[in-house]
């Protein structure tokens, strides 16, 4: 059953983004940025944790999860060491995603050439 839930939620997010993409002149870059900000907002009020506990990987695969990871790291740091912890902790959870994407992009761009 949980597989069906994750299918449903991830598909739902993709369908809404496709609708926005068709109806407006936004590019995929805009959509990704909007989704990250949306993830930050939902996570700031604790809604995203409920989504993850209900939809599991369906909620962690979309890019909205990136915003959630940033916010959870920042709030953990804030609880530990105050305002400086916000800046210390913001990349604790989301760091693996960013650094892995950078390393992957660098290595792949060295290995392959653009095909025309």
């Amino acid at each position: 059953m949980i597989y069906f839930y994750s299918f449903l939620f991830c598909g739902f997010v993709c369908a809404i983004s496709q609708y926005i993409l068709e109806k407006s002149k936004l590019t995929p870059g805009h959509i990704n940025t909007i989704l990250v900000i949306l993830g930050c907002i939902l996570s700031g009020f604790g809604i995203y944790d409920k989504l993850i506990s209900k939809f599991h990987a369906g909620a962690t695969v979309p890019i909205t999860n990136f915003g959630h990871l940033l916010v959870t790291g920042a709030s953990l740091g804030f609880k530990e060491s105050g305002v400086i912890g916000l800046f210390k902790g913001i990349l604790i959870n989301a760091g693996p995603g960013i650094s892995f994407a950078i390393v992957c992009a660098f290595i792949i761009s060295l290995l392959f050439k653009v095909k025309h």
Binding site: N32, V36, S43, A74, N93
Partner: protein, 144 residues
């Protein structure tokens, strides 16, 4: 040619995108990726000694790797034209934008090419993610 004739010609030539069809396609392709992600993260959680949140992170990273590799091989755009938003919204889209901007400017050298333009498109995601992450991290720290 008069304006009306021109409009008629345009309507005949340009095929309008089927919006409802595209939305349904992206629903199923995106859902399929969520399903695969659930299977992978379940597999990792049960077979390797990780926490649940770590297994989600590894799944996220696996999709980043797949997105990068498909972009490098040149298949990503072909799959994207079939799957629509189902590939942009998951982390594969994030990897694709980063890898493609790195690959495009590779010929201009390491510093001026790859180094300066790898964040050309994903920079906005990281910038607004961190700015809003600080604001809402503060709110979350106060509330929860």
């Amino acid at each position: 040619m008069k304006n009306e004739e021109y409009d008629k010609l345009i309507k005949e030539i340009v095929v309008e995108d089927n919006i409802v069809g595209n939305i349904i396609i992206s629903f199923f392709s995106g859902g399929l990726i969520g399903l695969i992600g659930e299977i992978i993260s379940n597999f990792i959680f049960k077979n390797f000694n990780t926490t649940l949140s770590d297994s989600y992170m590894i799944t996220f990273m696996i999709f980043i790797f797949i997105g990068s590799l498909l972009t490098g091989l040149g298949f990503f755009d072909k799959i994207l034209s079939v799957c629509k938003c189902g590939l942009i919204v998951p982390s594969t889209g994030f990897a694709n934008t980063m890898t493609s901007s790195a690959m495009d400017t590779r010929s201009e050298g390491f510093i001026k090419g790859i180094g300066s333009s790898i964040f050309k498109l994903t920079g906005s995601i990281i910038l607004y993610g961190i700015v809003f992450g600080i604001i809402f991290g503060f709110i979350r720290g106060m509330l929860l």
